[in-house]
Amino acid sequence: MTRFAALLCLLALACAGAAARAQDHPPEPIGRRGPEPVAPEAVAQFGDLRDPIVMRGAVDIGAITPVLRAFLATRADLGIRYEQWGSNPLGTETRAGCAGRAPAADLVMSSAADQQVKLVNDGCARAHVSEATARLAPAENWRNELFGITREPAVIIYNRRLVRPEEAPRSRDDLLDLLRPDPTRFAGRVGTYDIEASGLGYLFAFADSQQATTFGSLLEAFGRTGAIATCCSSEITDAVISGRLLIGYNILGSYALARAATNPDLAVVAPQDYTLVLSRAAFIPRQARHPEGAAALLDFLLSDRGRAELTRARLIVRFGAPEEADLDMPDGASSILRLIPLSAALLAADDRQKKRLFTERWRDNLRTE
């Protein structure tokens, strides 16, 4: 590994700047920021950099780095330029790349699976068939063009110090019970994604609306109690750790677990009524300049070694008994896990009128600051 001049250069770009701003002004308003610029939040490069594979993703550089390094350890001849994007700008950029208006990446992996499905439906992807892709379940492989790489649950987080164990929400109904009394001390202290700012937030909310009727009640309760909607897992998690928020809903489990590892106050719960599981979807764009390299990287990510690395990076979250799992799930994980399948059904989420109506309904209930 030392042979490679692996350099990680965080570019001071928009989101990084926003993070810095958050620290500069402590009583920062949590909520929607302005329209995100179409540019990567950060860039890291690994291995042979003369003509690297360009991978764009919404995973933090810190989380993906060991995985990419492990791949390069098997392929000394390759180099990777990893660009970290927000899920919505990434969708915009990839669409532009597909239309030929912007340089295309070689591999695009996004948490906004609906947008990825739409891009593949638009014919932006090229097919890749290998032993690794053939092993995938139908829900994780669409048309041999779009592949599910990770397994990350949508979780509820809360602050152990501020929420008593008997109050701790184990399911959406528990959360509704906490928000029902008027007044409740949870008013204004529950945070969730702003579905307009976050592609992943939209996907989770949309999947929730398909799963159960609790979604309507939840939306109503959030609106009534003045819940906070914001762009990113990090903001909500920070706020829960600091105590400004008590509970975070639909937080990306991979991120929450990573933070909980260093913050004992942060409790992570997989909702017991059902737990949405996201598989980040990756495809090789049709205009990719290094499709073979991208295919090799893809096959690595789907291989046993790649999966082991992803598990270590908590991008594949293990469910089950506490001793070997990341997320405690005593009552039969399989019956409550709801993997969001990669299929044409996700296109409904991306229909423009549907999206507008859904967002309007959201906005009517939840006032973002």
């Binding site: 593949v120 439906n121 638009d122 014919g123 139908p138 669409w142 048309r143 398909q210 299929s343 044409a344 059904a345 996700l346 296109l347 409904a348 989420a349 229909d351 423009r352 009128q353 549907k354 109506l357």
Partner: protein
């Protein structure tokens, strides 16, 4: 009869029955196979189209049903179930477009084309979607509300992977079944051909194991279709047997019949050698001459008999007029016999009397009848030809005599039936020849005693249709 006869060479240009049947079956099967393959392809394609068209129209109807009017605006809240329905074709990309009044795209892909002709509210059509073949349905929904009046078209389409896969699946399964059926049919055909040809092999075996002198009928159990071969073989063998027996009998008869007169001649000749008296010597010589004449007649009759039996068996039957036979008989009759002045009268009809047969044999038979009449009957002798009556014709010889006693009639046709044996005048072979000729012509030798005295012996033969245009009534 050479035993070492080499088996006849099979002429190569005559293909074996097995080959012909195999060719025919192969032709039928392959021809049918091609037809059925095309049918299976078409069927698979149609079935796949039908199945997935229903899916399409179901999704489109769901979307159309979800359209609502709110404040004069068309709201299309696409149900997720519509897309879940489309996702039942798991590998296919989905195209959709909802078109409001004035061709405005309300949602979906702007580039999705509309049907060329909207003849009905639901129209299927083929097209393209981003470089792939696609199948579309356009469903029209009409609104007539105060706030909004007009039509909204919902167009849903998908690429053809699932259709092609289903079509191929159906087709390949159909072809597999057909292939198995084909193999089964070939097997059955082979079995059928073999079992159909097996009787021939049994016949061959039965014939080759048989003693060459054994001409008894073959006893082989065969299906009706092949039994005719055995029947033909048996008929042929029976005829062969008859001929051989006839020859054998002829040789036996000849040796028996010739031995006595030759011995008599010898005895007379020896008598003559010792006779001194010229008058008695002359008498002996006269007897020798009589005997020699009788012997010569006997010999000629024996040979005639053999010849006629042979001709009756061997000569192809021609169409002949019995009147000609009568005339020729009259011309050739032994004038020596009736030089007494008695004449042979002819009684023939004006129209030809047709039979199938051998003119020479018939003439010979008639001559014998005429000779018999002159020899044993009393004149006048009439050679009569009777026109067809009930499909039979008759040529007969009538005289005024009483004829032979009726109890002789039955075995009159047998050879040397006359107990008298050989007489100087005749050997008794005459009627035997007539009988043989009658038999060879599928006819009968008949005797008739006339009501007012007289006697007729004749040949009763089946009538034949004359040459074209002269068919008998």
């Amino acid at each position: 009869m050479s035993e070492a006869a080499a088996p006849p060479k099979l002429r190569p240009r005559v293909a074996s029955i097995g080959t012909r049947l195999a060719l025919a079956v192969a032709l039928i099967l392959s021809g049918g196979g091609v037809v059925v393959t095309f049918a299976a392809l078409a069927y698979g394609r149609d079935a796949a189209h039908e199945a997935f068209d229903r899916l399409l129209v179901g999704a489109a109807n769901q979307i159309a049903g979800a359209i609502r009017i709110q404040g004069g605006e068309v709201i299309v809240d696409i149900p997720v179930s519509a897309f879940e329905l489309m996702a039942l074709a798991p590998e296919d990309r989905v195209a959709w477009r909802v078109v409001g009044p004035g061709g405005v795209t309300l949602t979906g892909y702007d580039e999705v084309g509309r049907p060329a002709r909207a003849t009905a509210d639901t129209v299927f059509y083929n097209g393209e979607f981003r470089g792939e073949r696609a199948r579309y349905v356009s469903v029209r929904r009409r609104f007539a509300e105060r706030a909004f009046s007009g039509t909204v078209d919902v167009i849903v389409g998908h690429t053809m992977r699932a259709r092609d896969a289903l079509a191929w699946d159906i087709t390949s399964k159909a072809l597999l079944v057909l292939g198995l059926a084909g193999v089964l049919m070939v097997g059955l055909a082979v079995f059928a051909i073999r079992s159909a040809l097996a009787p021939l092999r049994r016949i061959e075996a039965a014939l080759s194991w048989r003693d060459p002198h054994d001409l008894t009928p073959l006893e082989v159990d065969l299906p009706r279709e092949t039994a005719i071969i055995v029947t033909a073989i048996n008929r042929f063998m029976a005829r062969l047997n008859d001929q051989m027996q006839g020859q054998r009998r002829l040789i036996a008869d000849a040796s028996h019949q010739l031995r006595t007169p030759v011995a008599a001649l010898r005895a007379q000749a020896e008598l003559a050698a010792e006779e001194e008296d010229p008058a008695r010597l002359r008498a002996i010589l006269a007897r020798i001459r009589d005997r020699a004449v009788g012997l010569s007649r006997l010999t000629s009759q024996l040979l005639n008999h053999a010849l006629i039996i042979h001709r009756a068996e061997a000569e192809p039957a021609g169409l002949i007029d019995l009147r000609t036979v009568a005339i020729r008989t009259a011309e050739e009759s032994d004038h020596e016999l009736f030089s007494s002045g008695a004449d042979l009268a002819l009684d023939v009809p004006e129209d030809p009397v047709w039979v199938r047969g051998d003119a020479l044999s018939l003439t010979e038979a008639c001559k014998n009848l005429v000779n018999n009449a002159f020899r044993h009957g009393s004149p006048p002798v009439v050679l009569r030809v009777a026109a067809a009556q009930g499909g039979r014709v008759r040529i007969g010889v009538r005289d005024r005599g009483a004829g032979p006693p009726e109890d002789h009639w039955r075995d009159a046709g047998a050879r040397f039936s006359r107990t008298a044996g050989v007489t100087p005048d005749g050997a008794g072979l005459g009627l035997a020849i007539v009988h043989a000729v009658a038999k060879a012509h599928s006819g009968r030798l008949v005797f008739e005693a006339g009501a007012r005295g007289g006697f007729e012996a004749g040949l009763d033969l089946p009538a034949a249709a004359g040459p074209a245009g002269e068919a008998e009534p």
